[in-house]
């Protein structure tokens, strides 16, 4: 446990400040995107962008976690960490998508749900829990892609989908490596050494059957060539939509539930 792990290199790539954020992906995928704000209950959470746009010739509701591209934006967006109103906006817009029979594309990029006094007071746990349960009832195709950082419940709350794509250097984990090291080793600075043990890379997640597909990035990372992965992502999303649209809504929901039902490793009987 001396050298920095391979997984840590990916964590660094996923967090590279030059890496494209969700906003630019949305603009490239759906040039006609119209943002729709607010949860209709309390406020608008800038950490999550939601709206409608056309990808190729297909209309989608698109929901994306956005970290921000400069300091001012990052502060406004809480570095991509949603508050409860963010998840409540997600539920509102997905309900709307269902009403108009639009498929939903989730773009995930967050260190996690925001840990703060207001977030707790307004029910961070309830908002995430409700989003999880709700998304298992939604009768339109849900496709999700982890663009960069998939952190904890903050990512999972928009990660309930029929198909999960991850970019090659994206990560998806229970907690940040720093948080993980702080909890299990009482020392956040051990994060670079322990990142491997967390099994958080796209390749790990694909092996576990949690990620269904990996989108290749240019050598050295997405920030070196923004376009190629977005073109692949577009192709994947449209191809997957075609598959999912063949299913009637009952089958769609059954398959979605069955996918998540299978996650977990345990042994039955006396050991």
């Amino acid at each position: 446990m001396t050298a920095n792990s391979r997984a840590w290199d990916k964590v660094q790539l996923a967090r590279n400040p030059k890496r494209p954020t969700a906003k630019s992906v949305v603009a490239a995928l759906a040039p006609d995107f119209v943002e729709l704000k607010g949860d209709r209950l309390f406020s608008n959470d800038y950490a999550i962008i939601g709206g409608i746009g056309t990808i190729a010739d297909r209309r989608f509701t698109i929901i994306a976690e956005e970290k921000g591209t400069n300091l001012e934006e990052r502060i406004k967006n809480h570095f991509g960490m949603p508050h409860p109103e963010g998840y409540r906006k997600v539920m509102r817009l997905v309900r709307q998508a269902e009403k108009f029979h639009r498929p939903v594309l989730f773009l995930i990029d967050t260190p996690g749900a925001y840990p703060g006094i207001d977030a707790e007071a307004r029910g961070q746990a309830e908002a995430i829990a409700s989003s999880l349960r709700f998304l298992f009832t939604v009768k339109v195709p849900l496709i999700a892609a982890v663009l960069s950082e998939g952190g904890s419940g903050g990512a999972l709350a928009i990660g309930i989908a029929d198909h999960l794509i991850m970019l090659e250097n994206a990560t998806y984990s229970i907690l940040s490596p720093e948080g993980f090291a702080a909890i299990l080793y009482k020392d956040a600075s051990l994060a670079p050494q322990i990142a491997d043990t967390m099994k958080l890379t796209a390749q790990d997640l694909e092996q576990f059957g949690i990620a269904d597909e990996i989108i290749a990035e240019p050598g050295g990372g997405w920030h070196l060539d923004n376009d190629a992965p977005i073109i692949s992502l577009k192709r994947s999303v449209l191809a997957e939509l075609k598959q999912l649209e063949r299913l009637d809504s009952e089958t769609l929901l059954k398959k979605r539930t069955a996918k998540f039902r299978a996650f977990g490793k345990y042994q039955e009987g006396n050991n």
Binding site: P115, I160, F263
Partner: protein
Amino acid sequence: MANFLDDHRNRVVRFQKQYRKKQIASHKLDIPERLFLKCPFCERSIHRDILMQNAYVCPECGNYFPLTARNRIGMLVERDSFNELDHNLHSLNPLDFPGYEDKVKQNQELTGEVEAFVGGIAKISGHKVCIGVLDSHFMMGSMGSVVGEKVTRLIETSVRERLPLVIVSSSGGARMQEGIFSLMQMAKTAAALAEHNAAGLFYLSLLTHPTTGGVSASFAMLGDIIIAEKGALIGFAGKRVIQQTIREDLPEGFQTSEFLLEHGMIDIVLDRREVKPMIGKLLAFHACEA
């Protein structure tokens, strides 16, 4: 089944002995003291039977003794009515995380439980229910694959048998050593509750000290009715993480049952001694008229 209470009483003694040794190194329980438990707050020794009759609330100072899952079940359900389900689900080590098997084994020896959740079918105030309880003494009641699977199976049993569901939570949240598999249990339990909800069945969630992280952000906060024991710590993010993020002091009473009630997040806050009659009453409200 007949020896359930005695059996669990012995287990509690064994557990308390070891637990206390760890917690309060200076205090050792010797054999004649077994019938008495010392309140960690007022330090008075209390006879176990008196403590049990008082719902494990110290009759002298009102302190809530931490309950094992079996304490809680014994307290809530009709005598000898509990039929445990899926007792023998064992954790594996999905990430090959160093030391995880040993940690699980240690906790099994410490608590006498296989895992951090005990579930089954029982009767409460004459109502047949599916009841499950998280045990915070077992790796902080954290949710790994086994806890997630057992919770999910209990929910599915409740749907299949058309029974009301009662889940008592006390958990530090995710089972870190199971990484992403732990996270996926949040989704899995929520998916089962989506079906439970659609089936029109009643789910009562009881939150006890502490209910945090991935457990609060999944099945614990999805009850049709959510009751919290007074003074419990309930929240999503850990206090230390919040403090490090916002760099401010946290308000008095932050993330307590009362805080959640005040902010509209739960239905009722109760003294532990009022929990059982209230559950009985709420089950009666939701019983099918015969």
